[in-house]
Symmetry: C2
Subunit: 450 residues, 2 copies
């Protein structure tokens, strides 16, 4: 049932733009969902996208604007006057409008705000601009339905009708006192089934989940997920109700957070997408590669130290990539499980306990792998037993150290408030590479005595 | 405002259980949210958890049951009779009840169903059991509010009141024809502001997003995210309305999907958590390590072929881990970006275009890294220029090949319906390790001619 944008459809739009047949284009796009309008605009060039944008009604384009890629949006906004931008923002909820304004150059922000028609709306948007985008304040919108605890049901219903006009989806009715402090919430059911003269104070639910304006976004996401909430009220330092966050904004936070951890595990340090520019992609990828290269220098140096072993035991050097790679792989596995556990708040027990578990796990895995390696080096590759024993013991040691390393580092980073996901990916593989080679040749030296 | 479970609180609960002071325990836990009850139960042992479970009201425990870890839930359910389980399920929405039933042993399922009090509820649950859990049918619940297009507003409101009793949160009112086929939806606002005699057919919105029972869950998630939906109706093959999916179930799908991709990138093949048993964690991790080890055998073999080079150019072998690791790192970056792009439907353009972009990207990265390597090998490590030239050219080639490989493989897998995330992690690092070593020594042979 989803609308699929075909190449033919895009071609048709482009033709209509070339022929400047605005009315036909408008008719063609009239019934299309804003999310699809956004997708269409991303297929068009700057001029075409702006053309489409201008002929459509701001009711349709305002929401499409939100769905656009940052870059495309920026280009379109650059082609619009302050007044035109203000018209778009008038159609949006305060939180979405504030997000878009925040992306504008400082000089244009004031101009756009002065052009907003609804003064209340404008005040709310300005208020939202003060908050850090990664806090509850940065996520919240001002659109909500609230009633005073001193009212009765009848006054409530009247007031709510009026308030609801500005609110597209009513998630909850919040109850406040005369100072606007959040006291509780009201269920629509109770409101409809109680006599109109009943004071609100008798029917409202005093237990209400809320967050503060400075609660970090990931924390808000965790709470809303844990308690299955579709909306949560936000209060300021004084406990006054200042906004609400809805689940759709949280879905984005969850997605971004998961994507970020994934990218860090792959050695990508900024939030980039496959369609970003080569320069942006390089900025996100190169730093990790440089780090890995510098780590590589150390491994060259370490191997150089053991050059004397080459004459008697050249084969030791053939196993180096194998041992190093296994250390890297085990380390990434361990760190990924810990990082994900930390993100999902699923790590119980202390560090020691966790390391002991990882130790048993790596012993189990290590013994099985060591057995395969021993058999492989003897039967498959035809090396002598004492070489087999050397690489086997080295592999087991490397696996144990690498997995403890992969467990310990993220936990420690997290403890000191550093994102543990930084410890996954190239960082852990590179450090385990070096460590692995060092352990391997040290053990070889002990056993083979070169 | 979130409830924090302290060690003291758990100790207090354990003491009350030991002393068998059920009434006091019940009072203590009475006002605690089900999500917190679930967390408390996970801190207790089997006996204690079951004890807590039995003294609490099923209204509170039923929802807690949903939040529990699979293992803990399984243990608790094993301690409950079919009748006790049925009591829990009576409190749950059909989709949640079906999820729990599906985990029971076959013999117990029928028993539990026969104990369900509400026959309609039981029928709905049985109906839901037919669907694959990774489709819209497996996600949907039967609780919804629907009205007939031939009714008038008054009949509607009456019917809705009755239906809404079984529905905790009304997300949308769906309109169906006499055959129960989905025709559209009704906005609560329109319903409340139209004269009671108006036929529904005049006020309902004919455009409604929907999915089919067999639509895959990730596709449902994508559609709901794209169109910002809080609920979506589900129709069967005949277009009849059979259920609805709400956003909270979709949040779980999004989270699981992201977690899965992340784990695959780290070489973990099943959905495991840090708190799972050592055996489960081994099952998820060992296969990838064995794969990497077998790949390692190949790299040993390849290096063995180039043994003759050792005499004249021992230093070539010192650079092997560096070259191999860089190939692995670059490959993982490329594949991660493609995998994430595919998951987010953000890959536009064809394969050739994508490969060309990756080629420019890797050329840019590669040239910078090659320059650093050349300088490093000469100034830092003190190797001769012709060695520097050799490793530099090898690094550049390996980076280009590895990044094309990392881009190409996920796209091809995806094309043939295989999860592209399988191509990330150990798979790509291992294959790039081998490829890297082969390329490196081949180039060295060409340049140095050993």
């Amino acid at each position: 049932m989803e609308f699929k944008i075909s190449r033919e459809f895009i071609a048709q739009i482009e033709q209509l733009i070339r022929d400047n047949r605005a009315q036909e284009l408008e008719n063609l796009l009239q019934d299309i969902h804003f999310a699809d309008i956004a997708e269409i605009m991303e297929e068009l060039d700057d001029y075409e996208a702006s053309y489409v944008f201008k002929i459509l009604d701001s009711e349709q384009t305002a929401e499409a604007l939100l769905e656009l890629d940052d870059e495309v949006r920026e280009k379109i906004l650059r082609n619009l006057s302050a007044k035109e931008i203000a018209e778009e923002l008038d159609e949006l909820d305060t939180d979405d409008a504030a997000d878009i304004i925040a992306e504008l150059p400082q000089s244009k922000i004031e101009e756009v705000i002065s052009e907003l028609e609804d003064v209340e709306h404008a005040k709310d948007i300005v208020d939202l601009l003060r908050y850090d985008e990664h806090t509850a304040g940065g996520l919240m919108g001002k659109e909500l339905v609230k009633v005073n605890e001193n009212w009765n049901v009848l006054t409530c219903v009247k007031e709510m009708r009026q308030q609801a006009e500005h609110v597209t989806r009513v998630h909850s009715i919040y109850v406040v006192d005369d100072e606007d402090r959040l006291k509780g919430r009201l269920s629509l059911k109770d409101l409809l089934t109680t006599s109109t003269k009943t004071p609100i104070s008798e029917v409202y639910i005093k237990k209400v989940d809320y967050v503060k304006v400075d609660t970090p976004d990931v924390e808000v996401a965790r709470i809303m997920q844990k308690y299955d909430l579709e909306a949560i009220p936000v209060v300021d330092e004084m406990g006054c109700l200042v906004g609400r966050i809805t689940i759709d904004d949280i879905v984005d936070v969850i997605k971004e957070e998961a994507d970020k951890d994934y990218q860090l595990a792959a050695g990508i340090s900024q939030d980039v997408e496959a369609d970003d520019s080569i320069l942006e992609l390089t900025r996100a990828r190169l730093p990790w590669l440089v780090l890995a290269l510098l780590g590589g220098f150390i491994s060259v140096k370490v191997l150089g130290i053991f050059e004397p072993a080459m004459k008697a035991h050249a084969e030791l050097f053939f196993f180096t990539p194998l041992i190093a790679a296994m250390g890297g792989n085990v380390g990434v596995q361990s760190s990924a499980i810990i990082v994900q556990g930390l993100a999902n708040n699923a790590i119980t027990g202390g560090v020691i306990q966790r390391l002991l578990k990882e130790l048993s796990l790596s012993l189990l895995n290590g013994l099985i792998l060591a057995a395969i390696l021993f058999a492989g080096s003897y039967f498959l590759l035809g090396y002598e037993v004492h070489i087999g024993i050397t690489v086997t013991i080295a592999l087991l040691s490397v696996i144990i150290i690498a997995s403890l390393n992969g467990t310990f580092i993220p936990i420690i980073l997290n403890k000191y408030g550093i994102d543990p996901a930084l410890a996954t990916g190239p960082f852990i593989t590179t450090s385990n590479d070096i460590l692995g080679i060092l352990i391997y040749f040290s053990i070889a030296k002990l056993i083979l005595g070169f």
